[in-house]
Structures are given as C-alpha cells and as structure tokens.
C-alpha cells in the first residue's frame, strides 16, 4: 500500500482536532502516515506529539506560514512532504492548498471526500444532491470533509522532526481586518441556527442571535432571506450558492427548505426544523420537527436551552 501524508489543519493558532479525522482517513487510504504541521514556530507541533495513527511527525517551520499564501505554502509543504497520497481538510483554505499541491506534483486532486472504500472515494456533487464515486490510480491529493470521519485518539507518542521549509510569497497581506461581530462564521461552527424569510424581518434575527449566544452557535440564513434583506449579508448564506455546512446541529427557523438550501445543509448530523407549515419540505430532512410559528417556539427553545446549559 502507498504511503500517506497528512497536512495538519490549523485553526486559531492550534492544530485543529480535524487533523485527527484526516489521519483516520489517511490510514484507510494507505500506510505509514506522515503528519506535516505547517508552523512559524515548532512549539505549535508539540501539542500533536501524542496523536496516534502516525509513523512520523514533521514540523515544517517557515515564516511563509505567517499568513495564507497559496503559492508559498504549496512550495514549502511540497519541499518537506514525502511522496504518497496527500490528505488535507476540505476547509475553504485547505481545498485551495490541496489543489495547488496536486498541480505542483502533477497529480489530480479529489475534493471534499465523505467516504473511502479501497481506492474508491465518494464526494458530494451538486452540493450533495448526488454523490460521485471515483476510482484513484496512483498518488493523488485528497481533501476530507470535516466532521465525517471519526478522529484518531490522542494516546500515541511520536517524535517530532523540525524541518526548515522555504517558500516564496507571491502575494502581500496589507491588512488583517477582524470581523466586527465576535460570533462564529457558519463555516467554522459546530452548531448553526439559521433563519429564512419566515422570520418576517431582519430585526427578528436578534432572537436567533440570542439562542446562538447560549449555544456558542453561528447564525446563518437562507438565500431567500439574503436576497430579500440587505441587512443579512451573503456571508451568512447557507446553500448551494452560499456555504455548504455540516455541523453537529443545524436549527432551521422559518425556512421552508428550497432545494438550493437543502443542498447546503442536509449532511448536518442533526437537523431541527421550526416552521408553521406542516408540509414544508424541510421537515423531510429534520430529525426533530416543530410545527409552530417561530414567535411561539423560539422563546420556549431559548429558555429550555438556557436552563439546560447554565
């Protein structure tokens, strides 16, 4: 079997637990997994020293990793990563990186993989309205959808080899602007509560925000809501022309479930739908459906969650 290389997913200056999922996937695809951790300071890699399922850990140290630069990152990671099947996370940034590394190594990339059976990989197409099963032959780069594969445990021990990686920056960050709101983006959240046009007005999204704060959730919206109200930005849009998400919990409020929206959230682990129309298509996908106006259901939901979580 072929060797594998996992590029660690870094989030908020740490090795993200998604990395454990990538190692699981790599160990289905091949053997002798090498974990490569892009870092500016090798101490970042220390927290991964007990990660299991890896034969080797390389801390790829370079100033190029200060800010994301597709060209520089691909060059630096290519220089330290051994040959083999390369595995990354299917986050927006890591998919971009996966494509660059694949092109650099003159191999193909298979993005957003949700299951692996031998050399057959499955990926959602048409935002999950269908699944494409592809056969790989030889080395490829594979990005793995987070929150699908179980993660390996953290009870291993592996030495970390620090290697200086070099890459040339091809772009220059002029400024980093922090998001005004401290609330999570839908693409980063484990729990999302989304509102549709059924919310009646953008002001009513404050009720969703209140629940989001209790849950540590992100607030999303349907395309209908984004298109109707200027106050609801596209960055909140979940669906085929917005963000595809698969959190542990997705709460859809006043969203009827247009095919466009379903495509972007149907793979969420648990779906709760609140809609006054008992025949709304969203209920076919909901694990727990509540037939009610949001005006009636949200106060109850909010206080029940506060009581449970406080």
């Amino acid at each position: 079997m072929t060797d594998t290389v996992v590029i660690a997913e870094i989030s908020k200056g740490k090795v993200s637990p998604t990395t454990n999922e990538l190692i699981s996937a790599a160990n289905i695809l091949g053997t002798d997994c090498t974990l490569v951790i892009p870092c500016t300071d090798s101490s970042l890699a220390d927290q991964a020293s007990n990660i299991s399922g890896v034969a080797k850990i390389i801390a790829a140290k370079s100033s190029v990793f200060t800010n994301y630069d597709a060209s520089g990152w691909a060059q630096a990671l290519d220089s330290v990563a051994p040959q083999g099947i390369i595995v990354t996370a299917a986050s927006a940034q890591s998919k971009d990186l996966a494509a660059r590394i694949a092109a650099r190594r003159n191999v193909s990339v298979v993005q957003d993989v949700i299951s692996i059976d031998g050399t057959t990989l499955s990926t959602p197409i048409y935002s999950g309205k269908a699944i494409e099963n592809v056969a790989i032959n030889g080395n490829v780069v594979v990005s793995i959808r987070p929150n699908v594969f179980p993660g390996v445990s953290n009870d291993g021990s592996c030495d970390i080899q620090v290697i200086d990686a070099s890459g040339d920056l091809s772009t220059a960050v002029k400024e980093l602007v922090e998001r005004a709101s401290t609330r999570l983006d839908v693409s980063e959240a484990n729990i999302i509560i989304s509102g549709g046009r059924g919310m009646g007005s953008p002001d009513n999204f404050s009720h969703l925000e209140e629940i989001a704060d209790t849950l540590g959730a992100a607030v999303g919206a349907s395309r209908a809501a984004v298109d109707t109200w200027d106050d609801i930005p596209h960055s909140m849009q979940v669906g085929q022309t917005g963000k595809t998400v698969n959190p542990n919990l997705y709460i859809a409020v006043g969203i009827s479930g247009a095919i466009q929206h379903l495509a972007g959230m149907r793979s969420s682990k648990y779906i709760v739908a609140i809609n006054k129309d008992a025949d709304a298509p969203i209920f076919q996908y909901a694990d727990y459906g509540i037939v009610s106006t949001w005006e009636e259901a949200l106060p109850v939901l909010s206080s029940a969650l506060s009581n449970m979580l406080s």
Binding site: S11, K12, D69, A70, S71, A74, A92, K95, D96, L97, A99, R100, A102, A103, V107, S108, V110, Q111, D112, T120, T123, I125, Y126, S127, K129, A130, I131, E132, N133, V134, I136, N137, V140, S170, T171, A172, K174, V177, R179, I191, L215, H234, Q240, T241, A258, R266, S267, K269, Y270, V272, F283, Y285, Y288, G289, I290, S292, E296, A297, L298, L301
Partner: protein, 245 residues
Amino acid sequence: MVKIAVLVKQVPDTNSKIQISNDRVDLSSVKMVMSPYDEFAVENALLHREAVGGTVTAITVGGNSADKVLKDAKAIGVDEIVRLDCTEYMDSNAFQTVISGVISQDGYEVVYCGKSSADTGSGSTGPGVAEKLGWASVSNVTDIQFTDGMTVTVPTEGGNAIINVSAPLVVSCDKGSIKVRKPNVKGIMMAKRAQVDVKSLNPNPSNVTVVSQTMPAEKPAGKKFEGGQSAETVVQLLREEANII
C-alpha cells in the same frame, strides 16, 4: 492594457432537481446556466478591463451546447469567446494542464474564475491552473480594488485579509458585494452574431475516473411535534437521544 481570461462553465440551474439514470446524473431535462460564481468572475474581469484597459476573453470547455454560456458572457460585454472542444471526462490534472496550456500559449496575464462550480463544488481549477503556470493565486475573493495596483479581500478565520496582488495572477471569485450586470438588447444581438473560436484538444489520460454517480442515502424519518411548547421536548431529545448539547 491587460489581457484577461475568464473561465466559465455551464451547470444545471441550482434550483433544479438532480436525477440519476444508469449510474450517471441525467441532465437531459435540466435547464443549463452559467455557474453562479462564474457570473462574479465575468463581472470582475469586466471591471478590471474598465479600470485599466485591455481585453476580456471568456473560455469554456465542452461540446456545441456549451456555446450558450459563452454567448451569455458575450452579451454582457466580453470581447472574445473561446471553446475548448472536448466532451470527455478529464480529471483535475488533465483539465488544468489543458487550461494552463491555452492561457500560456495565448499570452493572458490575469485569469478570473468562480471560486467553485455549482456541479462539482471542488474549487480546484483556479489554484491548480495558477500552480501549473507558476503564478500567484487568490481564492474566495469577495472584493477587488483597482486603485494603486490591485488589492483583493479574502475571508480568513475571524475576519478578512486585504491582500496586494499583481499579475500574472489567477483570481477565484466569491459573491461579495458587486452586482452582476444584465445584458441589454444590443448586447444580446451582438452575442447572437458573435463567432465562437473553437479549439480542438488532445487531453492527457486521467488517473482519476468516475465509477458511478448515485443519490445520497435517504435519512430515516425524524420525529415531528405540534406547537411551540414542544421545543422543550426537542431540547431534551438533543441531550438524551442525540447527545449533542
């Protein structure tokens, strides 16, 4: 004067239902449109031309039926339209090799594309083509300014990065705040008469092949409750049955 290419792709309308027959997606009765993010790529390419002068060429890959997406781009103002004639499947490596070959041969300096296409959703073409050309790339771009060189906005964890970029460059576009222009009658008439420059292709063999396309697994029916008070029951279930809060 800058020579700009914009990559466009024809995909099923995102409101359409996808059906499978004989292990393949059946698109015979589906309305085909320009992939939504490609519309922003075309708009940004036109804004770039208007800011600094130059030409915009729309390029697609496909058979005769793909000419429509080129005519749509022509109707809103691109200068030239090119179709790389190929209807067979190409994996990402074969595909990017073909595209980067044309970009390099025809001397384009900046390439725009959508951040991903509405069919595969993979988002590999922009960064992959850039790597093959040895160019810079920026992806998921939500805003572009053409004063003082070229500056793009890219979302990051926790906010946005404002990035200075320069040609040669590939820009993969997200929706952002720009409005896409609509064709006028004159544009549509011109597009009708416009000639598509058809180039033949001889792609490399693919190492990734499609085995089948299938419908996603159906979810078992969930539990449905009447009335707002049942939200309390649902919260209990989320803890005791689903174990997620």
